[in-house]
């Protein structure tokens, strides 16, 4: 885990009361690198990551992902209940949930494709189309809004040179407006892929984006645990 080289004052360490590292705050020191095949079945449904590298063509499911999918199935009394975990897993691998993905998941769980479409469209975390390497979700709900969230969102759009919901020309960023992320005490709360960035102000935005650009291929280490391995690479390694 790398320390983020910019100031993020919302973290406890910065209030002067707690002396914590980023890894401790995020829990990475405790979690470590969890295995792609899902570890104990009890937690197998628990980790969809949002990874910078996606493979929209990756098979559903193969290798360690197939193993994880099968573990998930063991935890529910019927296949239907595995629908959200299965879609989460598919999105983790492919980056978004396309009609083909819905169709395949429907087949795996013996549901109708239309049913799966109905469920998928109900939930906002399923990207209906491809997003950039980093999905930047800026909370603009009340608590963050009171503290300038809309300006923060503007700053993300300006600094990535994108429109809301669109992907930047370098393929790095998609900025969207999010509803309350349950980080109200740390406004503005921004979720970037799997990680929360807290107490983000407009002046932090260029630094955050710079940091993320550095993580891009050739730019530095990966952002989230497990993200060193791309879905297709993992599958190939398993085969």
């Amino acid at each position: 885990m790398s320390e983020i080289p910019f100031k993020n004052p919302g973290w406890a360490g910065n209030t002067g009361e707690y002396d914590l590292t980023e890894a401790q705050i995020r829990g990475h020191d405790y979690v470590g690198d969890r295995p792609l095949e899902g570890g104990h079945a009890a937690g197998a449904a628990s980790y969809p990551y949002m990874l910078p590298e996606k493979d929209p063509e990756a098979p559903l499911f193969q290798g360690p992902y197939q193993e994880r999918f099968e573990k998930i199935l063991t935890r529910y009394p019927n296949k239907r209940a595995a629908l959200l975990p299965a879609l989460n897993l598919a999105e983790e691998i492919r980056g978004h949930v396309s009609p083909e993905t819905m169709d395949r998941v429907a087949e795996l769980l013996e549901l109708s494709p239309a049913y799966v479409r109905g469920v998928t469209s109900f939930y906002t975390m399923y990207n209906k189309r491809p997003v950039g390497r980093y999905l930047v979700q800026v909370c603009t709900n009340i608590s963050c809004n009171l503290c300038g969230a809309e300006e923060v969102m503007e700053a993300f759009l300006r600094n990535t040179d994108t429109e809301l919901g669109e992907t930047s020309s370098d393929g790095n960023f998609t900025v969207v407006e999010a509803e309350c992320l349950a980080g109200c005490g740390f406004p503005t709360c921004v979720q970037i892929n799997s990680e929360y960035y807290e107490n983000v102000s407009t002046k932090d935005v260029p630094q955050i984006l710079e940091h993320l650009r550095n993580l891009a291929p050739g730019g530095g280490s990966a952002a989230a645990s497990g993200s060193e391995v791309t879905p297709s690479a993992a599958t190939e390694a398993e085969e």
């Binding site: 009609p99 169709d103 549901l111 109708s112 494709p113 239309a114 479409r117 109905g118 469209s121």
Partner: protein, 536 residues
């Protein structure tokens, strides 16, 4: 509990000041129906589960902190319900106003207009003027495939269609996509309802003009249609239907509720097969062959001539009958044959390879037999010949040297020179028949859509139908024509009303034992079983 058949307990409650006693487990909405009170509703449908989401059927129940959804709230002893209290009416006015925030006011071009529940309820008790000044949400139109067209803007999101496809047809091809006020009914992208076989029902149960029939699109206004109770002629299930007619043409078929036969449904196959009822190539006058020419004449003259010829004929009688004609019509053929000393009767009927069962109500299927009255024909002594395309099998008939009577079957597969050796050929038909162009007698009869009568369905249920169309020219019901002939030959009184014709069937088959035309009502009955109450 209730499922164990001990559902004899009753509950007495008061609805709008009137007392009603209903079985335990009944909902308030159903109990109100018993009293003739319809609580306005959209999402509730007797044939589907109740999600209680339209919120229109909320009623005041004394002692309850909030208005209660009458479609799912079960009755309780001593309950006092008000469906028309100030709070219930105010709430309904509010909900109706909510619908109109986005519903387009396109009634002048909407097929549902005149039979639209939104129109009805708003006229009944909606606000005079809506208060919304905001632009309306636009979804546009979508072809769902099959016969179904979707107008998204008109949808009231009752989800009856989704539930029908999920619970009744059990092919979940429809879903609600998105959520909140972006919710819209849709299929799986480009996949439509093509593989559905019962999807036409979603048009029927749509309370507004969101789902409409392409076949019926802009064909007629609802208030210009006449409705005649009838029975679907497209298979042996005998779904109860209404013929919707205008300008003496059948415009569409709609299912008519019969909980024992078809519940509220009918299949797309049956629904789509009505054009033949509107055919124009009809026999319109009795035509009698005289040496080398055909002469049209009046009924009495023609029947007099036929009676003479029949009485003079020898060599026995054979008849080809059609399963699209009523029990009474076929019974009259039997009467005539009896009067002539007996004979043989065959029929041909199309058959599908298999049945198409409705999973949510498996008593209902598009049956293999694609004609409405094969059971009735068999009961009256006709034997099936020919293949599953209703072709062939007429070798014996072709070779017959006596009297040949053909009723209804236009013998479309028959080549020239058919039945040349027959002494006398009589064709009673609705449509012109090339094979029988030279018949000695060609007599115009009515189709089921133009006359009263009964069909016997695959399980022996005898069901009445009523005329929806006027018969062309001099066409008359076959039972009337043949009955008169048989009566004249054997010197019996001939039936002149349909119920009298039905009476003659008794004793001909156990299927008609103990049944009376009256007791059949609008929903039919089976011999030996108590008749269901009609008109409910």
């Amino acid at each position: 509990m209730a499922e164990n058949g001990q559902n004899t307990e009753t509950v007495t409650l008061t609805i709008d000041g009137r007392t009603v006693t209903v079985p335990k487990g009944t909902t308030i909405l159903q109990a109100a129906e018993e009293l003739g009170t319809t609580v306005p509703h959209y999402c509730y449908h007797a044939g589907l589960s109740s999600p209680a989401m339209c919120r229109l059927c909320l009623v005041e129940v004394e002692g309850a902190p909030k208005l209660m959804p009458s479609c799912v709230t079960q009755v309780m002893d001593g309950q006092v319900v008000h469906t028309e209290s100030e709070s219930a009416e105010r709430m309904r006015r509010g909900v109706l106003e909510f619908y109109l925030v986005n519903h387009p006011l396109d009634c002048p071009i909407c097929d549902q207009s005149g039979e639209c529940k939104l129109q009805d309820y708003v006229h009944q008790e909606g606000r005079e003027h809506g208060r919304s000044r905001e632009p309306k949400r636009i979804f546009g139109r979508d072809d769902f495939g099959g016969d179904v067209l979707f107008y998204g803007d008109r949808c009231v999101m009752c989800t009856r269609c989704v539930r029908f496809m999920t619970e009744v047809e059990q092919k979940p091809l429809l879903t609600v996509v998105e959520r909140g006020n972006r919710s819209v009914i849709d299929t799986f992208f480009e996949q439509g309802l093509e593989e559905a076989e019962w999807a036409g029902n979603v048009v029927d149960i749509c309370p507004v003009g969101a789902l409409v029939s392409k076949d019926f699109l802009h064909k007629a206004r609802a208030w210009d249609l006449d409705h005649a109770p009838s029975v679907c002629p497209s298979c042996s299930q005998g779904c109860n239907i209404d013929l919707h007619t205008r300008d003496n043409l059948v415009q569409r078929l709609k299912p008519r509720a019969n909980l024992e036969v078809n519940q509220y449904w009918m299949c797309d196959y049956g629904r789509g097969h009505y054009e033949w009822m509107n055919r124009g190539d009809r026999l319109e006058a009795p035509v009698v062959r005289e040496s080398d020419r055909s002469v049209a004449m009046g009924w009495s003259e023609a029947l007099e001539a036929l009676k003479t010829r029949l009485q003079a004929a020898s060599g026995g009688v054979k008849a080809v009958v059609s399963p699209y004609w009523s029990n009474e019509d076929i019974g009259a053929v039997v009467d005539l044959m009896d009067a002539l000393g007996g004979g043989e009767m065959v029929f041909r009927s199309p058959r599908a390879e298999d049945e198409s069962v409705l999973p949510g109500f498996p008593n209902l299927a598009r049956r293999r037999d694609l004609a409405p009255n094969t059971t009735g024909l068999a009961a009256l002594g006709a034997s099936r010949v020919g293949d599953d395309g209703a072709r062939g099998g007429l070798e014996d008939i072709d070779a017959h040297s006596g009297v040949l009577i053909v009723l209804g079957d236009a013998l479309v597969d028959v080549t020239e020179g058919f039945a040349e050796s027959a002494e006398l050929t009589v064709y009673l038909g609705a449509f012109e028949s090339a094979a029988l162009a030279d018949a000695d007698f060609a007599l115009p009869i009515t189709t089921f859509a133009e006359q009263e009568g009964t069909f016997t369905n695959h399980e022996g249920r005898v069901q009445r139908f009523w005329p929806g169309l006027q018969a062309p020219g001099a066409a008359r019901p076959a039972w009337l024509v043949l009955g008169a002939l048989a009566g004249a030959i054997s010197d019996h009184e001939a039936p002149i009303r349909a119920d009298e014709a039905f009476q003659t069937l008794r004793g001909r088959s156990s299927l008609f034992e103990g049944l009376s035309y009256e007791s059949l009502g609008t929903r039919g009955a089976r011999a030996g079983e108590p008749a269901t109450v009609s008109g409910d």
